[in-house]
Amino acid sequence: MSHATNITALRSDFPILAERVNGQPLTYLDSAATTQKPAAVIAAIADYYRHDNANVHRAAHALADRATAAFEEARRKVQKLLGAQRAHEIIFTRGTTESINLVAQSHGGHRLRAGDEILVTELEHHSNIVPWQLVAARKGAKVLAVRVTANGEIDLDDLDSKIGERTRIVAVGHASNALGTINPVDEIVRRAHDAGAVVLIDGAQATAHLDIDVAALDVDFYAISGHKAYGPTGIGALYGKESLLESMPPWQGGGEMIETVTIEHTTFNRLPFKFEAGTPHIAGAIGFGAAIDYLAAIDAQALANHEATLLRLVTDRLAQTEGVRLIGTARDKVSIVSFLLDGQHPHDVATLLDQQGVAVRSGHHCAMPLMQRLGIPGTVRASLGLYNSPADVDRLVRAVEKTRALLT
């Protein structure tokens, strides 16, 4: 297969980018919240409903065969995306949040004892904090957080000081949604394993930008969302090592996840179905698969170069813009830039950027502990995807300048 190397040309694959908002052409810089979808993904979902729709793994009719084949094909695509060795190590979920909750409730609920510790970091999204707090409260365990440095990097010395014989689980993001920091996950996995802890990586912000190889990382669990990687919302996946998944009790009960049921007793289905209670989001999985195909058809190096160039450009341009203070200046980052404008409230900035057709996110980005650590109420965040261009960066910078003039 030949790989697309002209990244700029890919923008036209995304029909929504032709929209106008507030009378202005859309400059979409909120891909860390959700990416836009290429026509191929939209078509895959529509085609499924037009031609193949049936429930999976059940009926003996032709449509059910087609739906099941497409659904399981999507699972193999996720397997390949993550570098997992076995397809049944991929559990379809609603997204990263549900994947983490599954591990917290099933693995954590099964293994944690009073006094055990779960280690997260101050950089985490609430989705990688709250599920652990819930299971910790239930089991009498404790959640600790590794410190983050002023420039937004995980303090590995602090990790070493907090990891210990009570640490059962280390849960860390691959890349920060608020600042873009890419964390040294290989190093963290190594140190956690040395201490005998299992590791979950929240890969929500990595999927669209970084090469993921769970086997090489030797990570125990890896959680992702389809919609952060050009796929649909409502679908995501959990990778788990076979031996761990086998040892975990089912989380939710219902159809699909059972083998036999009597009123007294149920035996559970094999992996991955043990963890997929109820009718899954079949169309979503197929759309996710189409997004993975779409990404796979792009030259990885060209895409990485494109995003790195844009990140450098947006960082430099904003740094040179009067009144702008960049938040999070880690050396390794995905294409996310967080900033403050003078003493202005991020919400005011985002409102005026929106008036100019520039879509960004403002607020604490579901990372309140990080904002507390940095001593700020929130930031304005511009996050870029493969469809963004230097022209988008230029529109952002001009809009920021106009916003500053309006607010001061």
Partner: protein, 137 residues
């Protein structure tokens, strides 16, 4: 608990301002002239939830009329507060309940600020004011 601009003034000004920049410049101006809520009132009990920016509200009933003081840490939200106060401040609870805020914000082309997804808490703020009025009506 003074009012910075009357509703009539605000309506008139909005009519004159045709482009978004001028309208927002005016909202920001309204925000700057809104009296600050004394720090002692900026406590959790007075926070309106559902806001991305912080919004505080205190009220008292004086001679049968509801007097509100609101504040926010965001300037545009303070401007929107000034409009809300012009419409709903210094009125009896029954009068507060009779005001159609949707159509006012529609008229001012600010309707989308009332949408629950905006996160600026304007909708939550108006809801809170109406709840207070309903309790006292």
């Amino acid at each position: 608990m003074s009012q910075v601009a009357s509703l009539a003034e605000i309506r008139e000004t909005f009519e004159l301002l045709s482009d978004w920049e001028d309208r927002y410049r005016y909202i920001i101006e309204l925000g700057k002239s809104l009296p600050n809520l004394p720090e002692e009132h900026k406590v959790n009990a007075n926070i309106v939830h559902g806001c991305q920016s912080q919004v505080w509200i205190v009220h008292r009933l004086e001679n049968g009329k509801l007097e509100f003081a609101l504040d926010s840490d965001a300037l545009i939200v303070r401007g929107l507060i000034a409009i809300v106060l012009a419409a709903l401040g210094h009125r009896t609870p029954a009068e507060v309940l009779a005001v159609d805020m949707d159509s006012l914000f529609d008229e001012l082309a600010l309707k989308r600020h009332l949408s629950p997804t905006r996160g600026n808490g304007l909708a939550a703020m108006v809801r809170r004011i109406r709840d207070i009025a309903r309790r006292l009506a």
